[in-house]
């Protein structure tokens, strides 16, 4: 019964409860799957002017989904199927003009390379040679895709199919085929497959209503109708559109927002920004490179018998006293209230300070009318709520900041309507800094800096920076997996483009320096005198060893002022009395000594 514990997997070590906010577990929910169904007709290969062809754009898009899946959700299954091909490739080749390029499976290095091979002019050539362009029967293609789903042994939680095409009438008016395709599409939809249309630029405009409106899944909400009916002309738009759909949105929690006694309304809690990290390494068996499983066991050092978690307790030591609690007690101490959000009140927006930041915010979507009402009425105010995510998680306070919906020119949603839940710091989380007042800049100095700022203006976009550490890591893996000589070069976008900046600034930097720094001042010099290297003091001259008699030490222990002694003295004392210490922290030394001498 893995699922049981997996859902909120609490580690043995304590304080782990808040680590995994993402909290999504594939074992319990099944896997996500995504099928790219790509038109391979001649029209797809026609690029306009300098623009890449629709086919090329699609392949770039597929590639970026492949790599992003590998990085951010490596358990998801992906397939790539072409329709309108000359050649056919599918099990038993029962479907004509359908070419399964990639079966529904985890994307890997090889597949990324395959897709790379279909990009650009060369890719078009490759595609022409292997698949060619031929008749179109979307119904057959959809049927073939439905077989992909049913052949999968794993439990699938979310099934999505994206059709990439630039033809609004794929069968050229053949109503029989149109009907077949519609029927097949509705079959697919009935089995829970969501069908999206990623329609691309077509000369003369792409008319969804001619055929595709009956094929694609109805939007989640009526209000969405009318959105995204414009075809994508640019790769960027296409990628954005695909990215927004490609991941199933999962709520971290579905909670009640308590407005007052007995007034509970439902909201969904989502994560929209979470730091992606390098995954943990896995251990492989040297002989066959197969992953090994790790088993952790607790055993008794005296008897050697295995211990169950119930055979253990938890301790903390303060002032030399061991304080013992049961594991359950340790957990229950953290419980304040049942999971949920509790409205405390409202505050004007200006009370939310910039520095009130502890971790990534959550997104809160109203699921009932009353919350939507509160959402609409929140103008220049935010709601203050107490947030308890799961049982035994201590409360945090959230500022619920209303977010209005925003859409871009292509009618794609760029900001979803709902609340952003900003975590507010407690008194303990705010550190007091002692600040000194330094002379401030004069107007002319500020003005000079303004010129500099003007020269270096740019439009920040949150998705403009890739994480170079992650990218390098995955390029390395890719190179190893494909036996490449060297990993593909990454462009480190976090590095300042110094040359360009210098060029734009021209003499401004020097002028500002002249305004603020005296001639002999070197802003790049070391601030603090370097700490003298240890060798300078002479390695031989060690501090005289302090020997302490046992009585003296016992005296200290009894008085409880071992803390007065220095760490080296304590270490010596430990050696002297044969006390084994694992750590080097002072408290650990003191604890160990106290334990030994009060026996």
């Amino acid at each position: 019964m893995a699922q049981w514990n997996d859902y909120h997997h609490e580690d043995e070590d304590v304080d782990g409860e808040e680590r995994d906010e993402s909290g999504v577990d594939y074992k319990s929910t099944g896997r996500d799957s995504l099928v790219f169904l790509v038109d391979a007709s001649k029209e797809m290969f026609k690029g306009e002017d300098e623009e890449p062809s629709p086919f090329d754009m699609t392949m770039q898009c597929v590639r970026s989904v492949y790599t992003s899946k590998i990085i951010s959700s490596d358990k998801d299954l992906v397939a790539l199927v072409f329709y309108g091909t000359e050649q056919s490739k599918n099990p038993r080749n029962s479907f004509k003009h359908v070419y399964i390029y990639h079966d529904l499976d985890l994307p890997g290095a090889r597949r990324v390379q395959d897709v790379d091979g279909l990009r650009g002019e060369k890719g078009a050539q490759v595609a022409g040679e292997t698949m060619g362009s031929g008749n179109t029967n979307l119904g057959e293609a959809l049927w073939c895709c439905s077989n992909l789903y049913s052949d999968i042994k794993l439990r699938l939680s979310h099934k999505r199919l994206m059709i990439f095409t630039c033809r609004d009438t794929p069968h050229g008016g053949d109503s029989e085929r149109d009907r077949q395709a519609r029927t097949k599409a509705s079959d697919l939809k009935e089995t829970g497959v969501v069908i999206d249309l990623m329609h691309l630029m077509k000369p003369g405009g792409f008319d969804v209503s001619l055929f595709f409106c009956d094929v694609v899944s109805p939007p989640e909400d009526e209000a969405e109708l009318g959105l995204q009916m414009e075809p994508c002309g640019k790769l960027e738009d296409l990628q954005k559109r695909v990215r927004a759909k490609e991941m199933k949105k999962r709520s971290v929690a579905s909670l009640n927002l308590c407005l007052g006694e007995g007034m509970n309304v439902a909201v969904g809690v989502y994560i929209t920004a979470l730091q992606a990290r390098k995954p943990n390494a896995i251990k492989l068996y040297r002989d066959n490179n197969e992953p090994v499983r790790t088993k952790t066991r607790l055993y008794h050092t005296q008897t050697g018998s295995l211990l169950l978690p119930s055979d253990t307790k938890r301790v903390q030591v303060y002032a030399g006293r061991q304080i013992v609690m049961e594991k359950d007690e340790v957990d229950v101490i953290k419980k304040f209230s049942d999971p949920g959000l509790e409205l405390i009140g409202f505050k004007p927006m200006e009370r939310l300070k910039l520095h009130h930041h502890l971790r990534s915010a959550v997104f809160i979507y109203p699921e009932e009318e009353m919350v939507t009402g509160v959402w609409s009425a929140c103008v220049n105010v935010f709601a203050l709520c107490k947030y308890t995510r799961i049982r035994n998680s201590p409360p945090r306070f959230l500022a619920l900041v209303p977010q209005k919906e925003e859409v871009d020119d292509g009618q794609a949603q760029i900001a979803a309507p709902g609340f952003h839940g900003i975590f507010l710091p407690y008194a303990d989380d705010i550190r007091t800094l002692d600040t000194t007042q330094l002379p401030t800049a004069s107007e002319s100095q500020v003005d000079k800096m303004k010129e500099i700022v003007h020269k270096l203006r740019f439009k920040y976009r949150s998705d403009a920076f890739e994480n170079p550490v992650l990218q390098q890591h995955y390029r390395n893996l890719e190179a190893l997996a494909l036996d490449l000589m060297a990993p593909e070069h990454i462009e480190d976008l976090t590095m300042p483009n110094v040359n360009m900046m210098d060029q734009r600034l021209g003499s401004l930097a020097q002028e500002f320096r002249d305004l603020v720094y005296p001639a002999d001042y070197n802003p790049e010099g070391k601030t603090a005198p370097k700490r003298k290297p240890a060798e300078a003091a002479g390695g031989t001259e060690k501090k005289p060893k302090v020997e302490m008699s046992e009585d003296e030490l016992r005296g200290h222990v009894q008085k409880g002022n071992l803390g007065k002694l220095t760490v080296p003295v304590l270490k010596d004392a430990c050696k002297q009395f044969g006390v084994k210490v694992t750590g080097t922290k002072k408290q650990e030394l003191i604890d160990a000594l106290t334990a030994q001498l009060t026996k």
Binding site: E222, L284, M325, W375, M449, L456, F458
Partner: protein
Amino acid sequence: MARSAKTALVLCLDVGFSMSNSAPGQEPPFQQAKKVIQKFVQRQVFAENKDELGLVLFGSDITKNNLAKDDQYQNISVHRQLMIPNFELLEEIQNDVHPGSQQADWLDALVVCMDLLQNETLGKKYERLNIVMLTDLNTPSSPDQLDIIIGNLKRAGITLQFFLPFPVDGGGSNPPHGGKALSREQQQGLEMTKQVMMSLDEEDGLEEVYTFSDAIEKLSVFKRVEKRPMAWPCTLTIGSSLAIKIVGYKAVCEERPRKSWSVVDAQTHQKDDIKRDVVYCLNDDEETEVQKDDTIQGYRYGSDIVPFSKVDQDQMKYKTDGKSFAVLGFTKQSMINRHQFVGTQVLKVFAPKDDEHAGVALSGLIRALDDLKMVAVVRYVYARNGNPQVGAAFPCIKEKYECLVYVQLPFMEDLRQYSFPSLENNKKYTPSEDQLSAVDSLIDSMMLVEEDKDGVKKDLFKVNHIPNPQYQRLFQCLHHRAVNPSAPLPPMDPWLTTALQRPLAVATRCQAPLETLKKKFPLKEVVKKKELKTSKELFGNSTEEPDAKKAKVDEEEDFNLADITEGSITQVGSVDPARDFRTLIRQKSLPFGEVCQQLTGRIEQLLGNKNMNYYIKCIPCIQTFREQSVQVGNADHYNSYIQSLKTSIPVRGLQEFWDMLVQDALTLINKDEVDGSTFSSHDAKQFLTAGEKKEELVAAVVDDTGDVDDLLDMM
């Protein structure tokens, strides 16, 4: 901020008989004073700093001090010399400090404390020497020595604090709220106290005089040890030729407790008696163990597993040359969405303290940004080979200082762009004017920031003034357990509960608007679970106990209100077959066999629908079936049903469902679980997987078009 320096402090507690007097219904001053001391010592113990503490009692029945001679300095006892406070001291205060039947001059006691401080701190370095006097001043004392005492205090640099049962000002003529007027001694004592305090510190002397009740309130909060802010010196660069020296400090960061729990043996309470052992084993049936040395490191790259040794990884990984705070460019503040802040800290960036030129240069940048409403987008690297971040540096201008506030921004990989149905222009629901005005008045009534008569804004609920409740509760429990090892944990401190609730004033104020709101909005039943998705929901109550063992599926939890109100359950219904089944088994009103039959009937019925949603509903049924069978100790019904189910899988096209069973490891019940079973645990496992690969007959999806040829194709 010299942290290493420590304080020596003597608590001087009046235990004389007048301290036990109190107006009816009021806590005697002695008890209040004792609480103050307990809370204070408690705080010191958990802070684990090096401050030393002594305790002197006066008015005690015994006399124990260095100055006692003949009839001088009688009934003053040095209970504890200066030392680091510990739990023993707390226990002594709890058990051994009682009100005495004598009286002693508080000035004499003060002299004893000074003597104690001076003797014991001789030759050692202290940052501060302090005497805390807790008394009701109800003893006649001789003021003739006062000047000498004040002189000595000043010379030795000893500071004084007074804790009294009544406030220092206005105490003379108005009776304190207890209703009892001050005695003549008290009035005289108060005058002397004022004299002492004012002569030690002319301006703020009286601020060091507190009342007991104030002090208890303040000391209730476990104060965390102040961490010394770590300076991060670096250079802010703009291009290659403009540099400003800076120092960064962590300003906001989630504070973690300093100590963590360690695991000990339940019997001996020894850490060393337990060892954690990690073994590696192959993924084969025998789970062959392999040595750690025979393993290498690898990573997943999608479907590929790539061996990647540590050495190679270190060589190939992304490297940074060292700390950096390099401006990439400037952008409008409005381009930065605050909900996209990531990372776990906020840095404040200043110019170095002793560097005026850097100060001017940084001030130029800060003011320029502030005027233009712009931010610097910055590459931040903490140290050599640290991971680079991209973040925003906001200008921050305060009365006393100027700085940049740096917060990390997300990388492309960190973002998840979800789209949600629109809330406005929503055909299904748009709030009416009526409803909106109800919400508006609710918001008005629940405003936590209000203006008082003088137009000063007052915040009724400042989160950044609340101590982290998690640690308050933790220390409360630790303290309680340390002193009462066998008692259960105490209830939560009432002040803490109150601190986390809607302020009373607001709660009362919003009652009426809430009621209106309730009427204006049709409240749906709070049944919000739309679809069964996660195991949490699937398996209902069992996950309430995340680490509960299967067998522990709590019996009591099933007795919920619904059961009672629904009347007794007489058969396995279709709504929640698993629950009905459990209830019936517990009620024992029907024979086990029959209940099982009812359940399997329901399962068959559900499976007949050949739909994932129904499959999902069946899993907990089978699971409960299995659990209950194990509990009852009768495996026959379960095992035979599962066997027959398995044989029918291919015929009925239920492979998908069977796979779910396999995934959930719903094996046959084996001998180890129930005696009567005929299967070994190995057999039981085998049973699930065997034949899995034989053949997969996919269920024929009935096609609307009824195209027979195609149908065959599909199979």
